[in-house]
Subunit: 247 residues, 2 copies
C-alpha cells in the first residue's frame, strides 16, 4: 500500500449526513482505497461531522475532489458503474460487486479510469445519474430487508476491490481498445439531442424527457470506443449535411 | 427467505455497546441470517440501545439465545470459526471469509451445526475463546488501517454466507429486457447503410467497405433491446423526414 496503485474513484453523489461521508471514507481505507469524489454534499464542504467520523481516514476527505455535478465527477472515466438496488425501467447490465470489481481491475490494468457511484442515503440514485453508468452494481441483499446504508455499501464494494486485486496479477484485457471517456459520451449524447431536437424527433412533448433519457442511457450502455464515437458523430453530421444540400 | 433454511449461528462474545449489537443484528438480517447467540453482554439483556438500533431486525434480538459462556454458546456445534485479525501465537488454519462460508455451507448441508464467533469490540477475542475454534476467519483488510468494527465484520461474513448459498446467477441482465434478435439487428444495419449511402457518408470509396464493416460491428456489439432498435430506426427516419421537409 505504500506505492499509490491505480484504483477506482468512489463518487458519493449528494450525500446528506456528514457522519455517513466519514464512515464511507473509513470503509474505503479499510480496504486500501483512497480516492473519493463528492458531488454537491447537502451540508457543504468541508464537513466537520465527516472529519470527526473519519478519524484514521481523514486524509481521504482532505484529498477528496469536490464537484458540483455527477457529470463533472466522472468526466475523465471510461467505465462507470452505479450502485443501486433499483434499476427502475432503465435497461443496463446488472453486475454483482465481485464481477464489477473484477471488471474494474481489468480495465484499470489496461490504463482506463474507472468510477463507482453511490447515491444519496434516503432517496437513492436518480435515473439521470444511473443513465450515465455503463452498468449497475447490485448487492445480493435479503429481499425482506434490503436496508444497506451508504457506508455498508461502500464497504462491500471496497472489500470486493481488495479481493479482486490482492491475488494473482490480472489478465490484461483488450489492451488495444481505446475506450471513450465520459466527456466524449456526454458530447455525443448532446450532439444527438440537439440535432434530433431540431429535426422534431422528441414528440409529443409529454414524452420528450423520457425519450431523451432512453437515448442517453443507450449511449452510455454501449461501451463505445473513441472510433465509435467519431463514427456516430459522423453519421449524424452527414445526415444534416444531406438535409442542407437538399438534393 | 420464507422457509427457515439451515444456517450458521453468529455468536457475539461479551459485546459492549448495545448499538453495536443492534447494528450486528441488522447486518445479519441484510443477508438473511437470523440466529444470534449472545455471550455475557456487558450491559445486560435485553438491551434497549440494541433494540433501538436494530429497528427492522429487532426479531433477531427477541429470539437471540443469551448464555453465560462461550462454551455454552457453541456446545451443540460441530464446526466453529473465530473472526479475528490476530491469531497471536495459536496455530490454526486461517481462512478467508469466502472460503469459511463455503465450508460452513457444505458442513451445514451435511447436517452439522456451525457457529461463527465475534469478539468484543475493543479487546478482540481472547485466546481461550480462539482456542475453541476449528479455524480462524481473517478479513483481508488494509494493514495500514485494519479497523473494522463489530457490525462491519458481521456484515462481511454474512455477505459471504449469502454469496456461498445463493444460486449462481453471476451476470444477470435486467430480466425485463426484451433483446433484439439477430434479424432485427441486421435490418437496422441495412437501414443505416442505405440511408447513409444516399447521404454520401461512405466516402472516399476506397474506405467505404471498411466504414460499413465498422458500423455493422458497432450495432452487433451493442446488446440492443427491441426498444433501442425502434428508437435507432426512429432517429434515422426523423433525420430523413427533416431533410425532406427542407425547413
Amino acid at each position: 500500500m505504500t506505492e499509490p496503485a491505480p484504483q477506482p474513484a468512489f463518487v458519493l453523489i449528494r450525500p446528506q449526513m456528514g457522519e455517513n461521508i466519514g464512515a464511507a471514507a473509513r470503509a474505503m481505507w479499510n480496504f486500501g482505497l483512497d480516492r473519493m469524489r463528492v458531488v454537491d454534499p447537502r451540508d457543504g464542504w468541508p464537513n466537520q461531522k465527516a472529519v470527526a467520523m473519519a478519524s484514521g481516514a481523514g486524509r481521504l476527505l482532505d484529498e477528496a475532489q469536490l464537484v458540483g455535478t455527477t457529470e463533472e465527477a466522472i468526466a475523465d472515466c471510461a467505465w462507470v458503474v452505479a450502485t443501486t438496488a433499483r434499476p427502475r425501467g432503465l435497461t443496463k447490465p446488472v453486475l454483482s460487486p465481485e464481477r464489477a470489481m473484477e471488471m474494474a481491475r481489468d480495465r484499470i490494468a489496461a490504463g482506463e479510469k474507472v468510477a463507482v457511484m453511490f447515491g444519496p442515503e434516503r432517496a437513492g440514485m436518480e435515473n439521470d445519474d444511473i443513465a450515465r453508468a455503463n452498468a449497475i452494481v447490485s448487492v445480493p441483499v435479503n429481499p425482506l430487508f434490503p436496508s444497506l446504508n451508504l457506508a455498508q455499501c461502500v464497504l462491500l464494494v471496497a472489500y470486493e476491490w481488495r479481493r479482486a486485486t490482492e491475488e494473482a496479477l490480472p489478465e490484461r484485457v483488450d489492451a488495444v481498445a481505446d475506450w471513450a471517456t465520459q466527456v466524449e459520451i456526454e458530447k455525443l449524447s448532446e450532439h444527438y439531442e440537439d440535432r434530433l431536437n431540431d429535426a422534431g424527433f422528441f414528440f409529443p412533448e409529454a414524452k420528450a424527457d423520457g425519450m431523451k433519457l432512453n437515448l442517453r442511457n443507450l449511449w452510455s450502455r454501449m461501451l463505445l470506443t473513441r472510433a465509435d464515437v467519431q463514427m456516430l458523430h459522423g453519421v449524424l453530421r452527414q445526415m444534416v449535411r444531406w438535409k442542407e444540400r437538399g438534393d
